[in-house]
Symmetry: C2
Subunit: 291 residues, 2 copies
């Protein structure tokens, strides 16, 4: 690993990464390691200026091979994605070895590390982060390959999403900022130790939450929302949900229970940005990952 | 009191009031009282459609006499304010007797009732609400007269703001929705009991938080934010702040302490919408109000 990019502001109203970039640009000591070069990238400054997640379309959905090479996709984020791909990639043959993409969520997810694949390098990374930061939560979105992912961090052969909440859009909370800064530091430390072949003894396994499915908010036939996340589930990210547990409250007062055949771990619960698509939450299965 | 208006969506990304309006339009039983007429008003539907607080300027700052009668103020919210003033007012000679304006905040303010004046009617109202809803917080913004206020609820001779949080912008939380619905119901009950001269025995006094001043976030000479609310103060709305207590953390790590000569009660702490003006929080003094 010779080149690491730390990306902030992929979503313009997720402020922790944007403020950390500003801090590191003024004083880069905390992100510099001897064994590799670190660069910082402000992915969507125009959305930040307008205090929005995005102008035309979600930046963090633009990085599939197909879309990056489609000349007909020309809106602001689609264009900006092509520029970032040229700067950090190109995807599939990237000059950047590792991307850390910094995100906030309005959900109560704490300091979460989202892995796009669960190869040996990433398993050791997660074990290292968990050993240094017991509050850290590991989320696996390895249901498809990195090449198939459309996230910004999929430009590089290795990339992660640091996802920290709860933080309202367009707010900066000290606790959330510090979690993000700490997790980023551990990731950089890990890459440095890996490069120098000086990794400490790591835990032999760790718990993680493997993405399984996404639930929509209750809708009527016209596609209008007719309910909300049940108060028992609100803020209960990574707490188990069982068949028959209340999951939604309709505005008419009735309650919808979850009907599922497995022990589900909701996360991204009631994330503000997912209302665009009427999404209520993601569900994961808890797994034990051998390192 | 013959006419009461319940206003939601004055800010387009404060969802509780907007969803309650929708609920009441489908089933109005819970807001109807025998002794007065209730109407509902969606103040800024266009901002809601765009999922923003406002399009051109903050709607809830447009209702001063001067601005309402200024023909040069023609942007969207300024125009919409004139329409609402014609519909509910006109201010100073309004056909509406009482306005309940429904708001959310990202701050941890719980169910707050903001009074624009502390006359006998409002003191009894607050005492009634507190007696029915012990979690309710009473905030006095009576430092100027209703006529001088620029809030939407100042159109009517009597008006209040129901301000409930914490809720991220563009999110609907069940707990926050239920607090807002409950407080609105108590206000309607109070007006009905008042009209019928059937008020119960009320507490002889109550505690309230009287607005005193607004603090800005730390800025450099270029007006850029250089710090954030200190973690001790985050979420500590209506908790006392004393001279020497940490209040801001600068991004360089240094800490700013509050220098003030009184016991201050911060609220609207780190409210997302106030970043537009680099505001950090409001400070109140705790007072005991005789009913």
């Amino acid at each position: 690993m010779k080149t690491v990019a730390i990306v902030g502001g992929t979503h313009g109203n997720e402020f922790s990464g944007i403020y950390l970039l500003r801090k590191w640009q003024q004083s880069s000591a905390s992100i510099i390691r001897d064994s590799f070069a670190t660069e910082t990238v402000f992915a969507n400054p125009k959305a930040y200026q307008e205090n929005k997640r995005y102008l035309d379309s979600d930046m963090n959905r633009q990085f599939s091979h197909t879309d990056l090479t489609d000349p007909l996709l020309t809106n602001y984020e689609q264009s900006r994605a092509k520029v970032l791909n040229a700067q950090l990639g190109p995807k599939g043959d990237a000059r950047t070895d590792f991307i850390i993409d910094l995100h906030n969520t309005t959900s109560n997810m704490g300091p979460s590390l989202i892995l796009l694949q669960s190869d040996a390098f990433n398993r050791k990374l997660a074990a290292y982060v968990v050993s240094k930061m017991p509050d850290a939560v590991i989320v696996l979105e390895d249901q498809i390959s990195v090449a198939e992912h459309y996230f910004l961090s999929s430009i590089a052969p290795q990339g992660v999403i640091v996802e920290v909440g709860p933080q309202p859009q367009s707010v900066i909370r000290q606790d959330i900022l510090e979690w993000m800064e700490e997790m980023t530091g551990h990731i950089l430390d890990y890459i440095d130790l890996y490069n120098r072949d000086e990794l400490p003894v790591l835990p032999s396994s760790f718990e993680a939450y493997k993405y399984h499915e996404t639930l929509k908010l209750p809708e009527n036939e016209q596609g209008e929302r007719i309910g909300m996340v049940h108060r028992n589930v609100q803020d209960a990210d990574f707490k188990p949900l069982h068949n028959g547990d209340p999951i939604f409250t309709l505005f008419d007062g009735s309650i919808i229970c979850w009907e599922g055949e497995y022990e589900a771990y909701p996360h991204f619960i009631n994330e503000a940005a997912y209302y665009d698509n009427n999404l209520a939450m993601s569900l994961a299965k808890k797994v034990v990952v051998e390192v």
